[in-house]
Structures are given as structure tokens and as C-alpha cells.
């Protein structure tokens, strides 16, 4: 995605990781019955989307790619979950019913996942992958995990290319006959891909050890925590405290000189 040089993009990845994880954590712990709270979470996320300067169309496009997967996972829950019947229909001898508990669980999955996906899209659009990994490293995430993720990101495209070349080599010699035989051929191709990957891994390891690798990956840290990062984290945490504690609803009832606070506004 094109860099926007927005406030969110210039933040240290650590502050984004901490803040975004805090929001996700709070969302997970909030009972789905407090629907108003999720509206507030959505508002916080919208503010972040706004300061990230990601074009709304692009944001929606990316979110919409993932939403169908969430819906696919959640759509059966209202029918499967046991509980108090809300609605049912009889088809011959078979009864299809939707329970209240099922609907709540459906909403629980869809709302929390969709908001998390929205956060993920904002995070991935404003942070390069290498910065994200550096942020994780500085947050003391096990290095082995970071290295595996880094290699996966670096070589997944190389592997795709290799697989594509194998497929192409097969397709130019395949003329549509002996359909069943093709399963065996696909099996061979997967095997060849595994062997090539293994050999590549050995060559990469050799390239690492000849440059002094001894099990610990070191990289130049150009990240710096600025006052903006502290302000951002503080802003997110204060918003979360307001939402979780319900303080925001109490403010609604605060009276000054026997008048509701919001009347004065």
C-alpha cells in the first residue's frame, strides 16, 4: 500500500502493537450484551482510521476481503447452539431452529472479529512488515518466532514462483487425458516442492553462517519512542478505561446546579 506519511504511520510500531492489542484484549473481555460499548470501540477505531489517512474505499475493500470468512464461520452458530428457541421451522420431520444464545454468540463472533480485522487492516497499512517485526523483537517476543515469520514473509513469494513454474511445466505437457493419473503427478509436484524448499533452507543457512550467524539475529534498531507515542498510548488507554468502567455513561447523569451536564453544552 502507498505510504501516506500520516501520524499513525510515523508512530513507533511498538506503540501501535501495544495499543491495538490492548483494544483487542478489552473487546474480547467485554460481554456482547454491552452493545453500546462496541459502538464506542468502533468510534475509537474510526478515529484511528481517520488519522491514518487511509482512503476509506481502500480500507473497506481490504476489510471486505476478510469479512466473508468471519461470516462463514459464524453463520451456522445460531442454528447449532443449544438454548432458548427464538424461531423455528419444520421441514418434514426435521426442525430447524434459531436460539437466542445462538444469536448472541453469532453477534459476539461477527462484531469482535470485524472490529479486530478493521484494526489489523489499519495496522498493516501504516506499518511495514520489517518495522512490525522489529517492534515485536523490541517487545521481547521470542526471536525464533520472529525469524520464522520473517523467513515466511521473505520466501513465500519465492515458493509461489517455484510452484507456479512446476504447474506451468506440467500444464504444457498435459493434454486433458488420464484424469486420475494427474493426482499422482500433483503428489510428485508437492514432493518436489518440499525437496526444493528443504535444499533452499540449507543454502540459506549456509549463507547465514558464513556471515557469522550464531543463532541470534541482530538488526539495526532505528526505532525511537517519541512523546507522540506516549500520547497515543495514553489516549488509547484512557479511552479504554472510559469504555470498560462505564464512566462515559455516568457522565451523562452528572448534574451541575441541578442541570444535566449535556444541557449546558
Amino acid at each position: 500500500m502507498k505510504r501516506t506519511n500520516s501520524l499513525l504511520e510515523n508512530l513507533d510500531p511498538r506503540s501501535k502493537i501495544i495499543s491495538f492489542l490492548a483494544i483487542i484484549f478489552c473487546m474480547i473481555l467485554t460481554p456482547i450484551t454491552r452493545l453500546k460499548d462496541f459502538g464506542l470501540y468502533f468510534l475509537v477505531i474510526l478515529v484511528m482510521a481517520f488519522i491514518s489517512r487511509i482512503p476509506p474505499r481502500q480500507l473497506l475493500k481490504r476489510v471486505c476481503v476478510l469479512i466473508p470468512f468471519i461470516l462463514f464461520i459464524a453463520m451456522f452458530v445460531p442454528f447449532v447452539k443449544q438454548g432458548h428457541m427464538c424461531w423455528s421451522v419444520k421441514i418434514y420431520n426435521w426442525e430447524l431452529g434459531v436460539t437466542y444464545e445462538g444469536i448472541w454468540t453469532f453477534l459476539n463472533i461477527v462484531i469482535k472479529s470485524s472490529l479486530s480485522v478493521l484494526l489489523l487492516v489499519i495496522a498493516s497499512s501504516t506499518t511495514t512488515f520489517s518495522d512490525f517485526l522489529k517492534g515485536l523483537d523490541l517487545l521481547r517476543i521470542p526471536q525464533l518466532m520472529i525469524m520464522i515469520t520473517s523467513f515466511m514473509y521473505r520466501y513465500i513469494f519465492v515458493l509461489f514462483d517455484e510452484a507456479k513454474r512446476l504447474m506451468r511445466a506440467r500444464s504444457i505437457r498435459y493434454f486433458g487425458s488420464r484424469y486420475k493419473e494427474q493426482f499422482r503427478v500433483i503428489g510428485y509436484m508437492i514432493g518436489v516442492l518440499f525437496i526444493r524448499t528443504y535444499e533452499r533452507a540449507e543454502r540459506i543457512y549456509n549463507a547465514m553462517i558464513v556471515r557469522g550467524f550464531n543463532g541470534k539475529a541482530i538488526s539495526i534498531n532505528h526505532l525511537r519512542f517519541s512523546y507522540m507515542d506516549f500520547l497515543f498510548i495514553a489516549g488509547i488507554f484512557i479511552s479504554l478505561i472510559f469504555i470498560i468502567s462505564g464512566l462515559i455513561y455516568k457522565i451523562e447523569h452528572v448534574k451541575i446546579n441541578d442541570t444535566h451536564l449535556w444541557h449546558g453544552l
Partner: protein, 262 residues
């Protein structure tokens, strides 16, 4: 000039029993460019892996006066860098800068020193401004040049280059040869594995020929070796080439960069 590499009676067998190297002996002088030529599968790359201590063959290897063994391996790798044939194997970090700084950071250099060395290496291979680029988005020629920078940043005295010009287009090849000239002028000892006779002609001080028996069969001045057609033919480095000059069809050995008259 002082001797910088000495290989004596080096033998290597792969785990499946295949011979990788068969009684290899040669010496390299400091600041020299030795081009190792040989057909496919003659053990050229295996020799490099043995020199870097990645493969452990039988025999004696001495680099900068240090015998290659577990004790001296780290010190040897500080002074000797290797550029692999496939740059995708060498560039494994998320960004170009991460790749180029990988070696110096492992050597324990300070942050400023690492940044300075990395930028200098990138400038030398004409890759300035690519620091934050992702390696897999580079063209093949750019990847090859970055691969050289990953080794140059460690400022090694000796550089081993495995098939440096394979897969490069003519312009990238010529750019690459210029880089090799620069390294040569800096006094670095270069060992280059190739079967590109043209590259050998361009850059070599001496040429070492590997036979299909996986052992050196000739070593000497590049003119002397590259003009020995029988030697090159026998070792599959030139081939009989049939072509037509108007009405005359004839066969002769095919070498790059050589013209002939009829």
C-alpha cells in the same frame, strides 16, 4: 606478494558417497584474481563451501596463515566472504539494509560503524537509495549486486564469488564486471567460479581449470590457459560449433570474444 590461500590434497565426498573433490591442491597470492573454470558438476562450488568451512573435507586448507579448523573458523570468516550463486539464498532479510548489515552486526560492530559500512557497500555496487526496499521486489541484477554488498559490508580481504554473472543480461554483466574491477583495484583477493570464458578473459590474473574428475588439471596465466584450445575442449569449456559462411559450412571450437577469418 604473499601467499593468502593454500589448499593441499583436499578431498570431499558427499554423504551419499559421490565424490565432490578429488585431491585438490593450489595456492593463491594476496591481491590476485583467480578464476576457477570447469564444466557443470566439476566441484567448483563444493570447493568454495570447503574453503568457507561449511563442508568439511579431508586435506589441508590454510587461509591467511591460519589452518582451517573449528578454532580458527570465526577468524577466517571475518576475513573471507562468499557470494552465493543464487542471490535469493543470500538475501533472506525483510529489507536490503537488514541484509547488508547482517554480517557486520554479527561481527559485533557498533551501530554507526555498521550503518557506515553498509552504506559504503551499497554505494560501491550502485544500490544507494534501496536501503528500505524488500529484497524480493528487486530485479535479478539488483539482487546480484545487493548480494555482493552483503559481503562487502564486512570488508573482507578475500572474496569468493560463485557464478557471479550467470543469469545476467549483457548490461548487468558489464556493470558487474566493473564492480569486480573496483574490488580488484582495492587490492582484494578474488576467487571466481564460472564457466563463462569471457568473464575469465576480462578479469583473471590466473585461471584454474577443473576437470570432470573433480580435480584441477591446469593452473596458470590466463592467456596461456585460455589459448590452450585442446585443454578447453577436453574439459568441456568450449564446444565444436558448426556454422555457415555463405557457401562454406564448417566446424570449429566456439569461444566468446574471439574472431576468426576464412
Amino acid at each position: 606478494m604473499a601467499r593468502i590461500i593454500k589448499v593441499l590434497n583436499l578431498n570431499y565426498r558427499y554423504p551419499d558417497g559421490t565424490t565432490g573433490l578429488n585431491n585438490v591442491s593450489f595456492e593463491v597470492e594476496e591481491g590476485e584474481t583467480l578464476v576457477i573454470i570447469g564444466a557443470n558438476g566439476t566441484g567448483k562450488s563444493t570447493l568454495f563451501m570447503n574453503l568457507m568451512g561449511v563442508l568439511d573435507g579431508d586435506g589441508h586448507i590454510e587461509i591467511m596463515g591460519l589452518t582451517l579448523n573449528k578454532l580458527n573458523l570465526k577468524n577466517i570468516r571475518r576475513e573471507m566472504g562468499m557470494v552465493f550463486q543464487n542471490p535469493d539464498d543470500q538475501l533472506f532479510c525483510p529489507t536490503v539494509m537488514d541484509d547488508v548489515s547482517f554480517g557486520p552486526l554479527n561481527l559485533g560492530w557498533g551501530k554507526n560503524e555498521v550503518i557506515k559500512a553498509s552504506q559504503k557497500a551499497l554505494a560501491l555496487v550502485d544500490m544507494e537509495g534501496y536501503e528500505s526496499r524488500t529484497s524480493h521486489h528487486l530485479s535479478f541484477g539488483e539482487k546480484k549486486r545487493t548480494a555482493i554488498a552483503t559481503v562487502l559490508s564486512m570488508n573482507p580481504k578475500i572474496m569468493l564469488l560463485d557464478e557471479p554473472t550467470s543469469g545476467l543480461d549483457p548490461r548487468s554483466t558489464s556493470k558487474f564486471i566493473n564492480i569486480l574491477y573496483t574490488l580488484k583495484s582495492q587490492g582484494k583477493t578474488l576467487l571466481i567460479v564460472t564457466h563463462d570464458i569471457f568473464l575469465a578473459q576480462e578479469i583473471a590474473d590466473r585461471v584454474l581449470v577443473f576437470s570432470e574428475e573433480k580435480q584441477p588439471v591446469a593452473i596458470g596465466n590466463y592467456k596461456e590457459i585460455l589459448n590452450n584450445t585442446d585443454l578447453l575442449l577436453k574439459n568441456n569449456l568450449v564446444h565444436q560449433h558448426r556454422h555457415r559462411h555463405e557457401e562454406v559450412v564448417h566446424e570449429h571450437e566456439h569461444k566468446h570474444g574471439y574472431s576468426h577469418k576464412h
